[in-house]
Amino acid sequence: MFMRTVWLIVRKDLTVEVRSREIAYTTLFFAVSCVLVFAFALVREGVPPQGASAAVLWIAILFAGNLALGRTFERERQSETLRALLLAPASRPAVYTGKLVGLVMLMSAAEVFLVPLIAFLFQEPLLRHPFRLATIVVAGTTGFAAVGTLFAAMLVRTRSRDMLLPLLLYTITVPVIIAGVGGTSSLLQAEVNDDVVRFWTVLLVCFDVVFVTIALWTFDAVMAEQ
């Protein structure tokens, strides 16, 4: 029943997104604008600063992800469908997991466009190790979305959610972003040090395990109305 609930919620979220394309357009537009601004500011006479692409990638993921998180739960709030999800006998951790998986998929879709764009604008070999990069990006996105999904759900009925969500999210996910930047930078070195890449990747996976476990543990209590 857990996996069935996760699948139902993921499918529902993706169907809603395919119909509205709201999150895809806003996050992608925002992320691309962000990358372009950095490219114009940092690339001088066609020469980009070395290693900047890793930081730009993760800043774009951070900001665009925050936007996607807000919209995902705003949708559930508008028709009070979040209440309907909580009224169902489905396991609440399964509801959380479904929302998380849907969000990671949406963010990953935006990242598929972002990575080649950054590689092109900053002329860095981001795609030299595609599978390793994909592992780091997906692990970082999962850690970020794991915390974000919990906070976005928690703040959905709060008036100051637009201010509180980035405040809480950025504070707690700083280690994930640092590890993401570290891992991505290590892939850009002329001689890739496997141990360094492995260190950052394992660190990101550890963050994911910790954040997802805490979120699954607390989601039921967090969603109880006061």
Binding site: M1, R4, T5, L8, K12, T15, V16, R19, S20, R75, Q78, S79, E80, T81, R83, A84, L85, L86, L87, A88, P89, A90, S91, A224, E225, Q226
Partner: protein, 242 residues
């Protein structure tokens, strides 16, 4: 699957911070009956429904569903509760069929597509089954929302202002559906301040004011006159004295 014949609220109080929303409310709603929670805005009707729906826990007191308690059997109890809120709990981008099939799946029903088709037939909306919910009229959306609330054949049906925004035909259809639910043995609890539509429908009425039960009537008649006389009474103080 658990089942129960009555819902009993005993001395239920609820506070939002320092604000008291409900104070020592006690009642029993039985199978095959419609209980009305009547009162002005802010009387505590929606809070009572949220507590009965297990969305919140009472600050004090307890709610029992037959022999079951929401602290121990929360998910199985929720499987037997259908809620139609003031908001319709529907995804506007999805079609009525997709909405109903999604919730049928979420309630663990077998063959959600068949269940959704049958529900659409009951709502008389087969011909609009593939239009997005956002394109339906308020009355049609309400019919879909009612079918969503009843998709798992609940024992306890909670309705919060179900007649809001409905034309006469839709309101009459909803009333008919509630009477049918009562005949089939459901426990129906309706929070409303639409007294004309509630007239003749209720087996018991609970009049709430400032979170307290100020009057209860079995098989109430002349609801508007009763309501006016009750609400015109002086406000009781915290100790319950007039």
């Amino acid at each position: 699957m658990i089942d129960f014949d009555e819902v009993h609220a005993e001395d239920v109080s609820h506070h939002f911070g320092r604000r008291r929303a409900l104070s020592r409310v006690t009642f029993t709603a039985r199978r095959g009956s419609i209980l009305g929670l009547l009162g002005p805005n802010g009387a505590g009707k929606s809070t009572m429904l949220a507590l009965l729906a297990t969305l919140m826990r009472p600050s004090q007191g307890r709610i029992a569903y037959g022999d079951h308690h929401d602290r121990t059997d929360s998910a199985p109890i929720r499987a037997r509760i259908g809620v139609l809120g003031h908001d319709l709990f529907l995804y506007p981008e999805l079609t009525p069929f997709e909405n109903l099939a999604f919730f049928a799946g979420l309630y663990g029903l077998h063959a959600p597509a068949a269940v959704a088709s049958a529900a659409l037939e009951r709502a008389g909306l087969q011909d609009r089954s593939s239009d997005p919910v956002s394109s339906l009229s308020r009355g049609m959306r309400q019919r879909v929302a009612l079918e969503r609330a009843l998709i798992q054949d609940p024992r306890l049906v909670l309705l919060d202002e179900p007649f809001t925004g409905l034309d006469d035909r839709s309101a009459a259809a909803l009333t008919g559906r509630l009477v049918d639910l009562r005949a089939r043995g459901a426990i129906v609890i309706v929070a409303t301040h639409d007294l004309d539509l509630a007239e003749g429908l209720l087996n018991e009425a609970l009049f709430l004011r400032d979170g307290r039960v100020v009057e209860r009537r079995a098989n109430p008649e002349g609801l508007r006159a009763v309501y006016r006389s009750i609400m015109a009474r002086p406000q009781p103080n915290a100790a319950g004295q007039p």
